[in-house]
Symmetry: C2
Subunit: 582 residues, 2 copies
């Protein structure tokens, strides 16, 4: 810090590609603080060190930083200063805060700069200090890349590039979100947990497209495309894409005269500052990617059926196994993983799967590990939020499973969440409706009882890509992106009673055409993609309206009809019983 | 135009005080075009003239401008240029558009200026040309002013001024919205149809408050306050308010050195440009005014009961009267007006009341007049949207009344609107919820049938003030203003089938505390203020959930219990029958 003339340094959890998960190489914040949670920012001055994180991680963070100089700052808790306020207090007029422009978005640095400006404190990009001080820093990942063939993607990379160029016209586009690179080029990687992407940039100009990547991934790796086994580099060449070294993006960005579209919220500051003609325009790929084509939709259906079969096998096994004793959250996770792994084209989890028993179910992002694992007994509720990556599709579902006797409160919450889940799932809505307008449908039933949840109600799901995909979503906050046919979106209300239990029901759904409206144009509705039964015995059926019962019975019937041909007799009869009408 | 060096002149429908209704003096657009509708903009160039208006007025406007040079421009219809586009086409680089800065807000002029800038066209405030060319222009209104005593307002003007100064601190505040002047000073006027306000400005500085008004209204008019009969000017003096001539605002604004808060969306350009230190801050009165105090709430309840009694008398009379023949929309309006006029403290309509029979019910802002009036027969639906001004409160309600045999479609729409109306009315919601989040509750039932309405679902209602009061509302558009206990808001979904019928059900409601939530703080709910029965025989009862039926039965019971002590035997028994459980 002294050498760079800065009096503080800020280390966020992010990497150059603004993704939800980051490769180990960029886990500098975890390395410097010892805190391994996914969200947190470390700030170091010449004599102090502090770590900001949110309520999910208060306990874990306190524990992991106990023997360090870091002080825990509880985000959004009254009395906790913001990073900016803290810096304003700790530093003096004329001081400078150092950041690594590569792992911060343009927006993040602009916001920090704006809020420190009144205090006479400046912000400077001093590059990555960890290369020097972090011994044994993990290398950039080198996992191989595969082609996501037309049988899964439904559209060639060349065609996608042409469609993107229709939007960018005579300008260039810098793509730094890894799932957008992957979607555009029909490639997938394995550099990051849960997200089948690889570290790279893509620069699309009116007359060429260049992929910046570790060239071993393209020049030494073969994959199959349209029946031919070929080098990734040759495949890309055929699609009109040149390959260059990952690091050469910097000099290329400096040289480009064309205006370059680079969205400030998702482009790193270091790249953006190199551009002669940056244009802070929204990246068009995001809105293109969420409109799934027929091949992708068929793939989702296959993936959901596979997950459904695995879930039925697991659910049928579950109760006797728990009653027999000896099961823990971790053992249940392993069993479910094994059953999904038996399914064709299974590639792994699509996020850190959640298996929360009892009071662990009330911790929204609980992930069982060897330290937190607890025995699971034949009573209460088990919250299981599970998602898979299959080559043909990504899945995300939650079932809350009654393992034995429940309290009245548990049955109340099970029923209220179910009502919200059904009411959103069965909505019809006119063209132009935003997810944020529909969100209340999932909450109204529990609001009657003074209960709410503070997370969003739903997000898009990628096609063998990231499980969380925007920009459309269901949430209380305003998000003006209309829902359109062929988008995927989850429906996942929940109730979390601290120290007692959690309930969440979640399906992934597809937006489809409904009928033409009597008034004002086309209407849309949702079709469930997830095919997994709901256990209905805890439901307080008198609380359900007849429309809600009808929807649930129809869904259970569809689950039975879809999955039963793929099950043996014993599982089929079990499923028939579970899916019987209420 | 030549004398002022402008090549076009724009005449909007607005006045210097940005209200919904304007005094005749400022109805320049109506005078110049002949078109008398409430919304429209006239634009005149050296050789052309055009009038923009919205779909409500296409027929009326076409009719009224038939023999003029004005061409009708149908707002928001495909192919219709915007005013800006049209001006850009008609004028040339270097040309100038004239406006009267007094009847345009700062925002309106800034927007016009910004959109014409790329064409090299400027915008200039050339003052009011109509004084010169409009012979027999109506004078500014001179109706007397009355004091809205503490028995109605519940808080003195001096106290309100003190609370406003807590927010504006060492700055000054220019109040130009007439209802905000009236609320602050506990005065009411009669200068404008439906809104009991008077033409004025109020300037509040840290050490004084000045009302700019036609001084005859204050110096020659007496009113009663706290048992004393006094001159308005003396009352104001006691509350710490000085009175000056309406026209002297301009020189005073020029002289003030203090920073002056003046919201750009509601302050006229002429005033704003005079300020040395304008601050484009939101006027704090708007948010204070919507929080009704206990006295005001008690007043609403009294007003709603009076309207309810009048409605019961009218409804009981209605069917036999219609069956007997000879009734028209206008005769029904007159009858209802007479019945409301019998009520204590009735001051008039709170908006242009709507009485739309048959296909007229499908015209959202239909107002019957001698030209449009039609006979009302004993069949189909009558849409009656009625609101009153009482000294103790403003009302707004809609009932759709079955006059005889209905089609299946009418019963469907009657039921779907009722379901939406009930679902919004019975909502519970956490602190911080916006009306725009709840809006879908009123629409979800009809969306199932592909039916929607394009107006908002609800608005605030003033306390013997404007019937439409912001900023909170229910609508599809985002409006981030949380609903808080002691706000009033209407609940008025509708279905309009062109050429056939219209259905709307509307109550005015009060936001009240619910219980403390199980999770995350206080919850709120709505309490109906409107006390008027719903005629239930057209309802397809199988479509209602049991919760919806329960709410409706409870409401009808409350209406009966509230109104029956005020009715004679015959009306009481009629009401008992109407309010019986479904």
């Amino acid at each position: 810090m002294r050498r760079h003339g800065v009096q503080a340094f800020v280390t966020p959890s992010t990497d150059p590609h603004s993704g939800e998960y980051v490769p180990k190489h960029w886990e500098s914040r975890a390395w410097v603080t010892g805190f391994t949670g996914s969200a947190g920012v470390a700030v170091v001055t010449m004599d102090k060190a502090a770590l900001w994180t949110d309520s999910r991680y208060f306990i874990q963070a306190a524990d992991q930083i106990r023997d360090t100089e870091f002080v825990l700052m509880k985000d959004k808790v009254e009395g906790t200063p913001t990073i900016e306020d803290w810096l304003a207090t700790e530093l003096s007029d004329g001081d400078c805060v150092g950041v690594d422009g590569l792992v911060n978005t343009v927006s993040a640095i602009e916001a920090l700069r704006d809020s420190l400006l009144p205090y006479g404190i400046t912000v400077e990009d001093v590059g990555d200090p960890y290369d020097e001080i972090w011994e044994e820093r993990p290398q950039l990942p080198t996992s191989p890349v595969v082609i996501q063939g037309l049988e899964y993607s439904g559209e060639s990379a060349a065609s996608k590039l042409a469609r993107i160029r229709e939007k960018t016209g005579m300008d260039a586009l810098l793509v730094s979100m890894l799932d957008e690179v992957c979607w555009t080029l029909n490639l997938r990687g394995d550099d990051i947990d849960y997200n089948p992407v690889f570290v790279s940039y893509l620069l699309i100009t009116p007359d060429k497209a260049v992929l910046y990547v570790d060239r071993r991934k393209t020049d030494e790796v073969r994959s199959c495309y349209e029946g031919r086994d070929m080098l990734i580099a040759d495949y890309l060449n055929d699609e009109g894409v040149e390959v260059k070294d990952y690091g050469s993006i910097f000099s290329d960005l400096k040289d480009i005269d064309t205006p370059v579209w680079a969205q400030k919220e998702r482009t790193n500051y270091a790249c953006y500052m190199l551009l002669k003609n940056p244009m802070a325009r929204e990246c068009p790929i995001s809105a293109m990617k969420v409109m799934k084509n027929a091949t992708e939709i068929a793939g989702y259906r296959k993936a959901m059926v596979k997950d459904g079969v695995a879930m039925v096998k697991w659910l049928k096994w579950l109760i006797p196994a728990v009653e027999a004793g000896g099961q823990t959250e971790m053992s249940l996770v392993r069993r479910l993983y094994e059953l999904r792994k038996e399914q064709l084209l299974f590639m792994g989890d699509s996020f850190q799967n959640i298996m929360g028993y009892g009071s662990h179910g009330a911790i929204v992002h609980y992930e069982p590990n060897d330290t937190t694992d607890i025995p699971v007994r034949a009573e209460g509720l088990l919250l299981c939020d599970v998602g898979s990556q299959y080559r043909d599709g990504t899945t995300d579902m939650t079932r809350t499973i009654p393992l034995g006797p429940l309290t009245d409160e548990m049955r109340r919450d099970y029923t209220l969440v179910l009502r919200g889940w059904i009411n959103l799932a069965k909505a019809h809505f006119p063209k132009g409706t935003y997810g944020s307008q529909l969100d209340v449908l999932a909450r109204a039933a529990m609001w009657e009882y003074g209960i709410n949840y503070l997370h969003g109600t739903g997000h898009g799901v990628g096609s063998y890509l990231n499980c969380h995909e925007g920009p459309h979503q269901f949430r209380m906050n305003y998000m003006p992106f209309p829902l359109c046919p062929s988008m995927t979106i989850t429906d996942e209300p929940g109730i979390y009673i601290e120290g007692s239990h959690g309930v969440r029901h979640e399906n992934t759904m597809l937006v489809v055409e409904d009928k033409d409206g009597v008034t004002f144009g086309p209407y849309y509705r949702f079709e469930p993609l997830t095919m997994c039964p709901v256990i209905t015995w805890p439901v307080i059926t008198e609380w359900l309206t007849s429309d809600e019962k009808t929807w649930l019975n129809q869904y259970q019937k569809q689950v039975f009809e879809t999955l039963s041909p793929l099950l043996d007799n014993e599982h089929r009869e079990w499923l028939r019983e579970i899916c019987k009408e209420i």
